[in-house]
């Protein structure tokens, strides 16, 4: 008799979801699905609004990554205005975007995932959290808190507030940076760089302890997609899309924002509010790909900045060709934190950053615009259409977690096949299935509404669709 296991809700991710594990006639795992159970409706509710409101409206999609949505949205609006924004505005936006990467990666790594990594997948869930981490390895927890604080403070210094700053506007930013604020950010950088390196040195030897997980944690061939800078470098703010296959061959490159729809399709499944993005030339669902830290480090040829570049080269030694295990998203996040801090330092060192010219003004000159940037969790695409008066007619958003949807399903299936046996759910299996989802750091707030602590729900279902076992945690 076939059975289904349901994990609902999944904890320590941004948003609300559940996992269903389907067993076959023999009781072996046949399929596993990750469902996002609530809808937001942002693409609909913006219709009829003036496009100048879009960055701020879009920032409300998420309290963790408001800055990422601000960037993609502002870039789409720049395309509507058809302006080239002033150089200082471009650099200031980049700095804020990097600060966002630091704070979000620190949240993901230290607050959400480090408890699994440090305390072990089988540790008591009551202890396996940031508080448990503080008791077990207080200096590591403190480093994480400090790194996140630095990212948030930088966002606040630039934009006036930590969450949903209104500073990023179509055409640039609405206030230049003053020297005192620049110096405050610069002063904190040596310390935070040291923290980022210390964490990497702590984490790298630990990877050995997780051989089993690395093998089974969404370790499969897939395409990798992300932005690449003009020098083939890691880039979060600009560049063009690159698609790389599992062997490291570049199969599509230099895809400009406005051409994304030729390459990326979106499928809707009845059991989830999260759209499944796929690589169009390969069709659905064969066009499975991954975005985010792992994908970014796989597709670039350099990190540019010296310290991050060293760590990147070492990271790429993990495997010949692209690194395939989603477990290594964690490692990749740490390399990216280091890169972001180094890059911020370089951008802030340029005296031109204090220029008072930070905004271009224009009436809308295009009726359609696409903005693309790299959010902490992967490529973010905002595509808008407006009428002749500048009112929004249509919007399409492709969120990082949507790109990863097919890969997350695949990852859950692979992990369930390794760790779920029989008709009952063990805590260890539950933890690993949940942890594989967490490796992608999905931000469901972008497609759902999050409230309070995210609990975990897993269901085990048989071939007839009967519920065999269900575990809730919250």
């Amino acid at each position: 008799m076939g059975k289904t296991i349901l994990i609902d809700p999944v904890t320590r991710i941004e948003g609300h979801s559940k996992i269903t594990i389907q067993l076959d006639e023999r009781g072996a795992v046949a399929d596993a699905r990750f469902h996002v159970t609530q809808m937001r409706g942002f693409e609909k509710l913006v219709q009829g609004r003036p496009f100048h409101e879009m960055p701020s409206l879009m920032a409300r999609i998420c309290g963790i990554c408001p800055v990422s949505h601000l960037m993609a949205s502002a870039k789409a609006c720049d395309a509507l205005l058809a302006v080239q924004i002033p150089d200082a505005a471009d650099k200031l936006r980049r700095i804020m975007n990097l600060a966002q990467i630091v704070q979000s990666h620190a949240l993901s790594f230290f607050y959400l995932s480090a408890p699994d990594l440090l305390l072990g997948m089988d540790a008591d869930p009551a202890r396996r959290n940031i508080v448990g981490l503080l008791q077990e390895k207080p200096e590591l927890a403190r480093d994480g808190i400090r790194l996140r604080q630095f990212g948030q403070q930088t966002i606040e210094l630039l934009g006036g507030r930590r969450i949903h700053p209104g500073w990023v506007v179509p055409g640039g930013v609405n206030e230049p940076l003053d020297a005192a604020k620049r110096d405050e950010i610069l002063q904190a950088l040596p310390e935070t760089l040291a923290l980022a390196e210390r964490t990497l040195q702590w984490f790298k030897p630990l990877v050995e302890n997780y051989r089993k997980e690395i093998r089974a944690f969404a370790n499969f061939p897939s395409l990798f997609v992300g932005l690449v800078g003009a020098q083939d470098n890691l880039s979060f703010y600009d560049g063009a899309l690159r698609v790389m296959d599992a062997r490291g061959k570049i199969i599509a490159d230099k895809i400009q924002a406005e051409d994304y729809a030729q390459y990326i399709g979106e499928a809707v499944e009845p059991d989830s509010y999260l759209k499944s993005a796929y690589y169009k030339p390969f069709g659905y669902p064969q066009g499975i790909y991954r975005v985010g830290p792992l994908a970014r480090l796989n597709i670039v040829s350099t990190c540019e900045t010296p310290r991050a570049n060293r760590e990147w080269a070492e990271f790429r030694e993990l495997q010949r060709g692209p690194v395939l295990s989603s477990f290594h998203y964690h490692y990749a996040r740490l390399v990216e934190i280091l890169y972001a801090l180094e890059r911020m330092e370089l951008l802030l060192a340029d005296p031109a950053i204090l220029s008072r010219h930070v905004r271009a003004y224009a009436a809308p000159n295009n009726y359609e615009g696409v903005g693309m940037s790299e959010a902490p969790r992967g490529t973010l695409i905002h595509h808008y259409k407006i009428d002749a008066n500048g009112l929004m007619e249509w919007a399409n958003l492709i969120i990082a977690t949507g790109h990863n949807n097919l890969a997350m399903n695949q990852g859950v299936l692979q992990t369930a096949q390794h760790f779920v046996h029989g008709e009952r759910l063990t805590d260890g299996a539950l933890n690993r299935v949940e942890a594989v989802i967490r490796a992608y750091d999905p931000c469901l707030s972008c497609s759902t509404h999050a409230f309070g602590q995210m609990p975990l729900q897993v269901q085990l279902v048989n071939v007839k669709g009967e519920l065999l076992d269900e575990k809730m945690r919250g």
Partner: protein, 240 residues
């Protein structure tokens, strides 16, 4: 110079105050630094007593009276703050919020809005009425300005400034009750309203983000109202 007027003595909140007999309670209160909440009133425009926020208690009169449209009388005893008045005023503001779609966090006048200011000042934390969520359009057909009906509170400041100060009378109201809407000319798109001089006075007197300059992002629209009493004063000087 105005003709000498009879001086009247009245009490506001227990204070003995002297005033000209042709003044309204609101004028006298403002002159004496007594705060009365207002929304439709604006220095330099005629008063219409529409928003009812300036309601005050007058001893001997059971009904509450609008301070902006009630003249002072000898021996009048006025109360501007009481539990009863607070409740009425809070309810008025809450009803305004419930009637249309006021989303401060993404509004062009966030931080510069009269409605938002009053809501905070009157201690409103929740709206106790069900929101109506009407589906209302934005008219962005004008080259420089836009009208968002979602944020209009029907104070008619735009109608009055356009008619009384600019002399164009582009703005008016159509419909009645909850169906009332501000319109330009004969309910044409603003961009096609021939009477509009594009002077922008309506935009600056609007208490909320209903009228705003195009191209402004969230919280960027601060209204400039200093021109109005100045303009009125200068015109009075000229006609003397």
């Amino acid at each position: 110079m105005k003709a000498p007027l009879q001086v009247t003595v009245l009490q506001i909140d227990g204070r003995e105050i002297s005033a000209h007999a042709d003044q309204t309670i609101l004028q006298v209160a403002l002159e004496n630094n007594i705060w009365i909440p207002t929304l439709c009133h604006l220095e330099g425009l005629s008063d219409i007593g529409a928003c009812r926020l300036c309601l005050v208690e007058i001893q001997g009169i059971a009904k509450l009276q609008p301070a902006c449209a009630t003249r002072v009388r000898e021996g009048m005893q006025v109360v501007t703050r009481s539990a009863r008045l607070d409740k009425y005023r809070q309810s008025i503001i809450e009803l305004l919020f419930a009637e249309r779609n006021h989303i401060c966090s993404v509004c062009v006048v966030n931080g510069h809005c009269d409605l938002q200011y009053l809501a905070r000042k009157l201690g409103i934390e929740h709206v106790h009425f069900p929101y109506m969520y009407p589906n209302l359009p934005v008219d962005a057909s004008h080259e420089r300005f836009a009208l968002d009906q979602n944020r209009c509170i029907l104070c008619t400041r735009c109608v009055r400034v356009c008619s009384e100060v600019e002399g164009a009378h582009t703005w008016d109201i159509k419909g009645s009750g909850i169906q009332s809407r501000v319109i330009t000319d004969f309910d044409q798109p603003w961009g096609e309203a021939e009477s509009c001089t594009s002077c922008g006075k309506c935009v600056n007197v609007c208490p909320t983000g209903a009228l705003f300059q195009k191209g402004k992002s969230v919280a960027e629209m601060a209204k400039q109202r200093g021109f109005l009493p100045y303009l009125t004063m200068m015109r009075e000087e000229e006609t003397k």
